[in-house]
Amino acid sequence: MRDIAIIAFAQLPNRRRHTDREEVELVQPVVAEALERVGLNKSQIGFTCSGSSDYLLGRPFSFVSALDSVAPWPPINESHVEMDGAWALYEAWVRLQHGDIETALVYAYGKSSLGSLRDVLSQQLDPYYTAPLWPDAISLAALQARAVLDAGWASERDFAAVAQRNRAQGKRNPNAHQVGDYDVDALVAEPYLVEPLRKHDCPPISDGAACVILATAERARTLVKRPAFIRGIDHRVEPHFLGMRDLTESPSTRLAAERAGAAEGKLDIAEVHAPFAHQELILQRALQLADDVQLNPSGGALCANPMMVAGLTRLGEAANHILRGDAGRVLAHATSGPCLQQNLVAVMEAE
């Protein structure tokens, strides 16, 4: 395996709506910022990979329009995944293993503000058995939350505590937009949104974009002082049909973490992609995080949840701690699909 590192991360401040930006206007600024951080220009990028979903914008081939942001002419070596950008990063990491290129650029963008996100997300369900019933994203998360409550290891109060902690941490993150100080007692007194979930247990709807640059070890050392070396990265998927899964657990996360070598050393920080409060509790168990691991200093997806971007953002935020020098070993997790369907875990270290 070639050692690959994250050397730059840039993100657009997440907002409920970026009204005046279409694809290129979302992506171009973050691509430019990431490249500038490491002093690279576009012609020095060996491979470009993006993550987005045309369903969000309701615009076929939106992902092709977005390519103008990375100067695709004359033609570049490029790929796209209809998933969170974390999976685009995985593809770029695999591409770098081929050995013929030294750098890769990954970007993701999501504009959820144009349609009814709850309904749009129903279209990722099984088209014959599940999607015709139009279960919306919050209701599916509520089914999972109910299963967790019935399993008896967490309470609605525990959900509220997760929301309270993340939103307080998010106050320090200028790119988050659903932040603040809340009182757990007051939160559990709020009415339900979709029982047993209250509004605070759910993520905000966000528009956003992010960009990560990867480089081989040798190249990374020449470009930044402290590259965030990806020591392990793995992703796993669970059955499409929700009824076949135990929604109270995340075996795909557990396996991905094992394969990524999460337990092979002490972790300083974990950035976990849990759009719903109860999902952070499920992930914490699956990842077996020690008590002294700082969890989601960015505030996580409960403070800003740009679809297709929030997972890549976890990788970028985690890498930033190494790039800046305030952590030595970090874990990043990304999820995609309903009820933690697919999960990716990466472990990054300083040299």
Partner: protein, 172 residues
């Protein structure tokens, strides 16, 4: 006489139809550049964006230049006349046709722009149309103008001499 046994349903018969209607409503946002482009048509103006990297004028205007990857540097107005760089003659009828066939669709490189736009060409017979022809926009009446390319009804020959191939060969 034995009675014909009742036909049993074939358990392996395929289910041939399953209706799952999908309707999703979106409020499309054109973005900063495209919004200006569209509004321009309501004022009989055609607006592009200049890239300072390659000094080309992109039409429609975009947030970034696909060659240089840098943000474009402002909106510029281009002329409502230009050169036909290529065309085709539609002879086969299909749905949503603007006119009875045969009619001409062409790529028009407007004066001041570096990317041709596609539109209809009228006022000339299909067997007389040719690359390099000079065309002018035929706008709708003032009262009918709107933020759409359809504010231009079509392009017609302007009567100027044909443009030299060298002047548009890079825009084919």
């Amino acid at each position: 006489m034995s009675q014909k046994p009742e036909k049993e349903q074939d358990p392996n018969a395929p289910v041939t139809q399953l209706l799952t209607p999908v309707r999703l409503d979106y409020t499309v946002v054109a973005g900063h550049h495209l919004s200006q482009y569209l509004r321009g048509f309501a004022e009989k103006r055609i607006l592009g964006a200049r890239c300072e990297g390659c000094n080309k004028v992109l039409l429609p205007p975009r947030g970034a230049c696909p060659t240089c990857g840098i943000p474009t540097a402002g909106i510029v107005e281009v002329k409502d006349q230009g050169t036909l760089t290529t065309y085709c003659v539609i002879s086969i009828p299909f749905g949503n046709m603007p006119f009875a066939p045969p009619y001409i669709a062409g790529a028009v490189l407007l004066d001041g722009a570096d990317i041709p736009i596609f539109h209809l060409v009228r006022g000339i017979e299909p067997d007389e149309v040719r690359m390099g022809m000079r065309l002018k926009a035929i706008w709708k009446d003032e009262a009918e103008l709107g933020p759409t390319l359809e504010s231009i009804k079509w392009f017609e020959p302007s009567g100027e001499p044909d443009a030299d191939y060298e002047t548009y060969k890079e825009h084919l």
